[in-house]
Assembly symmetry: C2
Homo-oligomer: 373 residues x 2
């Protein structure tokens, strides 16, 4: 995808101008990909092998990568100007500072990802560019990335549906007595076979479900227990993130009732995700939907943006004042504990539009508690 299919460079540059940033440096995997269309596996496994994309106030971005990533970047990126540094022989910051100076940015206001870039790099860059002002540019990326283009929405939708399918097919193939790890492996394998990379999975049964991010283990699925899965992978550089709940064997009345209330509360929360609503109001809507049904709120957020990153701006918590805008793609994910300490969790993908929120996942039997028999 070319940058024009993600965002108009001019609107990113306008956001930079509004933030008083002359030149913007993306170093995280998400922002490097956003600007260059290159997803580096190194970013995931060797994060210290820094790669950067630099967006000037006018013109197009350029890239600075480790010499060993040059070939992939040239193949995958639409960017013409690609510089390299030689790891172990020179610091990426030395090369970045030299290039910025050569291009006339030695006294500029330079926006970097202060929430991502390690302190040692930040200190080095500040020392190398004493006449420049190094400031936080995270916010500019956050805002730009929060508004998805039609192409991005289609990739996110397909990724979400593929993930939902992987969960349901794997649940169908699972039986009481299977271990958490076996069920999790089934889903992860299915995600890989569906084209995903870099998958992750939270899967637990019984009281293990109450752990926030449990590792699937040797515990077996026992009759009467709840199974909770929250999983995702990367598809064409974009993330998926779907949660579903199942019961092992025939559900009892409490389980059916609680799941129904959770699903209703989820849909009610989703209905609040309208353009012009503040993120905190969606959270408040969730709290109200839970309270009206006698459900206990245990989470300080009910969702988040999704895109090239997993937990993107805006986070739907009680303090976030961001206004929802058409083109935002959000995960809405309420969860509730039952009297036995089992956690029920549903998570779906929602597009903010000019009118009604559009649910992108959740069409495959999310209305009913899945029964593993």
């Amino acid at each position: 995808m070319r940058i024009e299919e993600r965002i108009n460079p001019k609107s990113l540059q306008a956001a930079m101008a509004a933030a008083g940033i002359d030149v913007l440096v993306g170093a995280s995997s998400e922002n490097f990909f956003y600007l260059t269309d290159t997803l580096l596996l190194s970013h995931e496994i060797i994060p210290e092998r820094l790669c950067m994309a630099v967006m000037p106030s006018e013109g197009v971005p350029w890239a600075l990568v480790c010499y060993c990533e040059e070939l992939q970047t040239r193949q995958d990126s639409w960017i013409g100007e690609i510089h390299v540094y030689h790891e172990f022989q020179e610091s990426p910051m030395e090369v970045l500072a030299r290039l910025l100076k050569e291009q006339g940015w030695g006294r500029a206001r330079i926006g970097v990802e202060k929430r991502f870039l390690a302190g040692v790099y930040l200190e080095e860059l500040e020392a190398l560019l004493p006449e420049a002002t190094v400031l936080a540019g995270d916010w500019v990326f956050d805002q730009a990335r929060s508004l998805k283009t039609p192409q991005e929405i289609e990739i996110l939708r397909a990724a979400g549906l593929e993930t939902e399918r992987a969960i349901l097919e794997s649940f169908s193939r699972s039986r009481p007595g299977d271990s958490e790890k076996e069920v999790a492996n089934r889903i992860s394998t299915r995600l890989l076979e569906g084209g995903g990379t870099s998958s992750w999975i939270v899967l637990a049964a019984g009281t293990n479900t109450a752990i926030n991010h449990p590792w699937a283990g040797s515990k077996t699925l026992e009759l009467g227990e709840i199974v909770r899965v929250d999983t995702g992978a990367t598809f064409r550089g974009y993330r998926s993130d779907v949660a579903r709940t199942a019961v092992v064997g025939e559900p009892n009345r409490e389980q059916l009732g609680l799941y129904r209330k959770l699903r209703e509360a989820e849909l009610e929360t989703i209905s609040r995700a309208r353009a012009g609503t503040r993120a905190c109001c969606v959270y408040e809507g969730f709290v109200g939907a839970f309270q009206r049904r006698g459900l206990s709120v245990t989470s300080q957020a009910v969702g988040h943006g999704l895109g090239t990153g997993l937990h993107e701006y805006p986070i739907l918590n009680g303090k976030e004042g961001a206004e929802l805008t058409p083109g935002m793609v959000l995960c809405i994910e309420p969860a509730v504990l039952d009297s036995r300490g089992f956690l029920y969790h549903v998570e779906d993908l929602v597009l903010v539009t000019e009118g009604e929120p559009r649910i992108l996942t959740g069409h495959m039997n999310a209305d009913d508690l899945f029964v593993i028999t």
Copy 2:
């Protein structure tokens, strides 16, 4: 594993004293796990949900985690003192600074992971503790973690062998015409079934092998091509990292000869990994082994430490002066291009001992170029 099975806390505290550090804060997944025995999945998927382990100059470490990670940390960790912060309502740094002050460290020399901790956190901590000195403590962790205990060595060895087995079994089940992604999925699935989590894989065929970290794609394995895989997963909190090379169909004379030379050069390089040798001398040994066989050196490092992290200290490059020490576990991984632009790559796990280096992987047919038929 209790901390005593990884390291004597007193030797970590002695290293802190030598570095002039009164209190050491581990925030990366690796160092949090190292000090607490708790591997948080959140660390991998939501890195902004910071968790920290704090080691004082005397006594035992304590932990600071997000409220939603408290349950897992209490279940998995041997640590008694676990504090929580409430995300979106308070900053983890505010809580860290308050706790440090309460414990009398308000004017101390505080070692943090400057190579990991994002600039925004570092600036916040410095502002919150104006009378303290915040300095880089990465080095203390690097050195401590580089020396493995017998328990750690056994986990790393088992993880390496499991990974080697996954590759070989999957190669055996692969056929000409399979896509890169199919072969990669086979290996990743096998790693999950073998108990691994968080697996990653570099797999390519033909000229794609020349990319440093290619994503396995739809390209099919064609007769006469080289297939290169470099993969690993996490087993009980420790990483594996093994590379192997195969040929599709009967190898020609150049392929057999080049693979044999590569394997010989690997073993010659490994033989240099002896206690008292500097890391750069292992690299120089590799360069010599390549040059004597007429092979071109294209990489600026030939290996790295392995443990809870993937690329650990010491990195075996031409500038690293670190002396190898018994108990270090290293990956040695030379690679070479052939005349068709195919990259051959082997990587094995080596334990530095008082005597001969001990190869922990590489016992399953690494001497012969694997043939996919």
